[in-house]
């Protein structure tokens, strides 16, 4: 059902945890659909120097969370904003169709963390791409 990359990230998730005093935090998902994830970022000169996550959810939710942290780390925040759900799924070698929608929330969580960073550190309110139909928080 899951690709080997998904299973690898699920079994050995990268960057699990919490960042104390993060520069940005994003939470998406809803226990109703069985997924909830929080992404924490540490930013220096607009570069994401550290990123951590915590996720309650299925293997897909955990793997996408883990993958997004790897994809985001070291990137400029504006570059990181361009990472899409599809990018995450592609990097994981694909996701089962039923999971594409509901458990593939990591990109949204990252975008919300960056939005939070802009607000908190720069006082700027930016628009980010999230999929409100999939989750409330």
């Amino acid at each position: 059902m899951y690709s080997p990359v998904v299973m690898d990230h699920f079994k050995n998730p990268r960057n699990v945890g919490v960042i104390e005093n993060p520069d940005g935090v994003g939470t998406v998902g809803n226990p109703v659909c069985g997924d909830l994830m929080t992404v924490y970022i540490k930013v220096e000169n607009d570069i994401i120097v550290d990123v951590k996550f915590q996720t309650f959810g299925c293997a897909a939710a955990i793997a996408t969370s883990s993958m997004i942290t790897e994809m985001a780390k070291g990137k400029h925040v504006d570059e990181a904003l361009k990472i899409t759900r599809q990018n995450v799924a592609d990097n994981l070698g694909g996701l089962p169709p039923v999971k594409m929608h509901c458990s593939n929330l990591a990109a949204d969580a990252l975008h919300l963390a960056i939005k939070d960073y802009y607000k908190k550190r720069k006082g700027v309110d930016i628009e980010v791409e999230v999929h409100p139909e999939d989750h409330t928080h």
Partner: protein, 389 residues
Amino acid sequence: MVKPRIYFDNSATTMVAPEVVEAMLPYYTQYYGNASSLHTFGQEAKKALEESRAKVAALINAQPDEIIFTGGGTESDNIAIKGIAYRNRTKGKHIITSSIEHPAVLETCRALEKEGFELTYVRVSSEGIVDTQELERSIRKDTILITVMHSNNEIGTIQPVEEIGEIAARHGIPFHTDAVQSAGKIKIDVKAQHIDLLTLTAHKIHGPKGVGALYIRKGIQLQPIIHGGGHEKGLRSSTENVAGVVGFGKACEIAATNLEANADHMRKLRERAIEGVLASIEASYLNGHRTQRLPNNANFRFTGIEGESLVLMLDEAGFATSTGSACSSHKLQPSHVLMALGLRHEEAHGSLRVTFSRYNTEAEVDLFLQTLPGIVGELRKISPLWNRR
């Protein structure tokens, strides 16, 4: 260490018993006739069919001619429920069922609802037992069927079938029960329990997949949903699956012979698992009723843990378990059964079903008890729900 291969998902399906395979084999390459054929090959097949019918009947205290063979539990449920509904359309349009039925019943009821039938889904207690008083109160003049499962496939609760049967009989309403999970685990007696229609499937009792049976009490009339050559009293036309039916018959025979001993064995494993898990893992809970449950079923939840992740981690460690029913494994909705118990969404998403068979051993349970706490711990480390408590 070689990864173990331990099967704890016996409510999803079971290993076919070696004796059952052996019984089936001659019907593939030797006695392979069509049971409707006049010649010797056909008569051999017919004989095997009828002998198997008697064995299935014996498991539930029915007469052989009250059993028809079908393609599985789902088909039996559909034949029974739609068969009664369509046949009695002019008499009434109200059907009573429970809120924790298997999708084979639930979706059939919903389909009938779309066609204009009116359904009452009776609630269950927080332990998953159908409320029989609510059930009786919901009976109307135009109620044409009561269908309540014999025991639940997710949480293993045994329903008050005899009581429901009595209520149904008192009101003169046909009573169907899905006994797919009860068969081979607890005693089923269609006479004592006042059951008019009862669903069985072979693959849950160490028989082959793709064969089921429907008990139809003498005198109960159904409208067929599949049409054709008129096999199985016109209710399930199709060349009879002789090998499959022979396997089913054998599986029933074995199940009937060793019912008590097997149940005791499974109950021992279940108790060991329940006690072990609840003792060793904090914030762990048993779903369903503590005692009024199938001897082979344990269903847990662990605060902050999502079920699919847990099942996959356990699979990595060599244990086959499930979140609930196999059917809903690929769905995103939380289990309707756990929701019916009044659990919160995140609780309902966090279930682990462990179901035993006569082939499981205490050593397997012990290995499980050694493995599970570590996995739960790992997943909780990742979980925002656990860490935020």
